[in-house]
Symmetry: C2
Subunit: 369 residues, 2 copies
């Protein structure tokens, strides 16, 4: 365990560890499935058959939102330093974030896990406990999944929900004149992950490190489900920040520009940056090449990026107060010749793009100008 103060993380450790020092293989694949099943309340009337059959069977009416995300050891997390309970939480949270970005109400989840052969039962229990904690917080029911062996730990989560309003918010609705908004602050998760990696190579001693909110943001992101629901009637387009501001704004431009091409202008001085992020860079992080890069292209913040017409400003600020969550206006959608993100400083001068921090298969072609 790393010496981090998880003040922001609601952890209520239940006494679920019955057998110390057992391996997962000691109870077997089906022993494990029964163990998970016994901890899942299958009470919701919409579930006609849950865990324990070839497929889950649920009632459905109207329309359905569905998303899935794969989390893989050494790519998305470092197994030795990511506490299993928090990993379980994150695995579900990042999927809830995708439902939130559609202004959806999450309802059901499936979890497929590839466990290394020598996994401790305690580790697997903690992982599941974290997953179920977030499920309970968001009234999501676990209805099925798969368990298998794997060399590296891998988690594949599928989440279903329903649109909170008549229609969900798509990426494709951004219109010229729309303001661009983001919830929360930018770059914290990727700076947190960078610090963790530095602690692994000995460059940084985390026990001397006090900016725990950065680590919490990497370990235990809070999906903006409530915000997504509130914004559902106001946002013209929405996406969650998983790949970084420029990249995700690029997705909105691409999807929204199928008829009329749109571009985005982003005002650097309006970007929301956390106190801990600023303190780490001792000065304006945007004057630092790495700081600028993390804020604009760091992934995994799981905040919401959305566009809305200018007449919605006061309503959005009212939501911000109700949710006790910063929501910052950071730019503007305009008609453009191509789908590009233009960065401007406080004097409205164009600023060169930093290198992308976050892509699983980095490609030159993709870098936006």
């Amino acid at each position: 365990m790393i010496p981090v103060n998880f003040n922001n993380v609601k952890i209520k450790i239940k006494n679920i560890i019955e057998h110390k020092n057992l391996k997962l293989r000691d109870i077997g694949e089906f022993g494990w499935i029964n163990r998970v099943r016994s901890r899942v309340l299958q009470g919701r009337s919409g579930i006609l058959a849950g865990i324990g059959d070839d497929s889950a069977w649920i009632k459905s009416q109207g329309s359905l939102l569905i998303t899935c995300d794969l989390l893989i050891e050494n790519v998305h997390f470092l197994k030795d330093i990511h506490p299993p309970r928090l990993l379980g939480r994150k695995a579900l949270s990042v999927n809830l974030s995708d439902i939130a970005a559609m202004s959806g109400i999450p309802q059901y989840a499936l979890v497929a896990i590839g466990f290394p052969q020598d996994t401790e039962l305690e580790y697997a229990d903690e992982l599941m406990e974290g997953f179920l904690e977030v499920a309970v917080e968001h009234k999501v029911e676990l209805i099925g999944g798969d368990t298998t062996a794997s060399e590296k730990l891998c988690l594949s989560i599928t989440v279903f929900g329903k649109p909170a309003h008549k229609k969900p918010v798509l990426r494709s609705g951004a219109k010229p004149g729309d303001d661009i908004w983001v919830t929360g602050t930018l770059g914290d998760a990727s700076l947190g992950f960078e610090l963790l990696k530095k602690s692994q190579t000995g460059e940084l001693d985390l026990s001397d490190f006090h900016h725990s909110s950065l680590l919490v943001k990497h370990f235990d992101p809070d999906p903006r489900v409530e915000a997504g629901i509130m914004l559902g009637k106001i946002a013209n387009s929405m996406i969650d920040l998983s790949d970084g501001l420029i990249s995700d704004l690029g997705h909105i431009l691409e999807e929204s520009g199928k008829k009329t091409t749109v571009k985005a202008e982003v005002y650097l001085d309006k970007l929301p940056i956390s106190k801990d992020f600023k303190e780490y860079f001792k000065g304006n992080p945007l004057d630092d090449e790495n700081g600028l890069s993390l804020v604009l292209t760091g992934g995994e913040d799981y905040e919401l990026l959305f566009t809305a017409k200018q007449s919605s400003r006061s309503k959005i600020l009212e939501f911000s107060r109700k949710l006790d969550l910063p929501i910052s206006r950071v730019g503007r959608i305009k008609k453009g010749k191509k789908a590009e993100v233009i960065l401007r400083d406080e004097k409205a001068r164009k600023v060169k793009h930093p290198r992308l921090k976050f892509e699983h298969f980095p490609s030159q072609e993709r870098q936006m100008t």
Copy 2:
């Protein structure tokens, strides 16, 4: 490529490889997603938003069947010898098999793939081509997914469908007096996989090997979707054979025995065994310890195991003729003191269970007696 005759595999290679010698990373994560998206017909009216948003959005009414399966390199397949097109086919087929086992009609799929960093674009294209081939065969639409990096190739597929009849067939409906039936033949897939592994260690030369149906069964199982739909009004309980006959029959007994405990009697001389399987063992495979073990406990046959009342026999044999698929009556459900599978030889003598061939986390506790 191994020198196998894939006569049984319908392969229509389209000329989709535009760029030879490119790596996946050369087009980037989003380049890849757009590539897949351009090959998917999003024509079905039920899809309100498909690939290209945070979540897919589909119309739904009535009830929904959902299943997911994780396929991991070196656990479920050997990457160097499993042709990527067939791996793509199998990844979807094993999920369709789960929908078939509920008597469901598959409709939509999500595919999450973790690709090793140095994956060739051609490899990824072939994998997707195989996946989409099976999707087209079964009228399944790809509506979303996730793509990420991974040390080992891993595929997580989620499939949705609807019950073909008013209710799906659950594992829990087996009743005392029911006949036990299986489609197709038993043990071929696991024998095929065993032979492949032997060819890797040099114990067997596959170029001298003529029993290709065994390998095809491992590489490219045919999900029994049509049979599942037909059997939906007749079967009292059903499961697909992924873990092996004894194990999967055990699941039916466990789920069906919640009120009245049931046991199963299986008649060894009635078990359907393929010509190629018999030829490999040169004699009765059930007289061979390994042969017996493969037939009873070998996994991944993806046939249907079901129970039905005795008055349905002629109807089931009629289905068998219509489907041109063997359906064999192999045993009987009885009231019992515990949920056990009893094996009987042709003289009705009890036979000792072989060791289990297929469990991801082998456990002594789980072995049924």
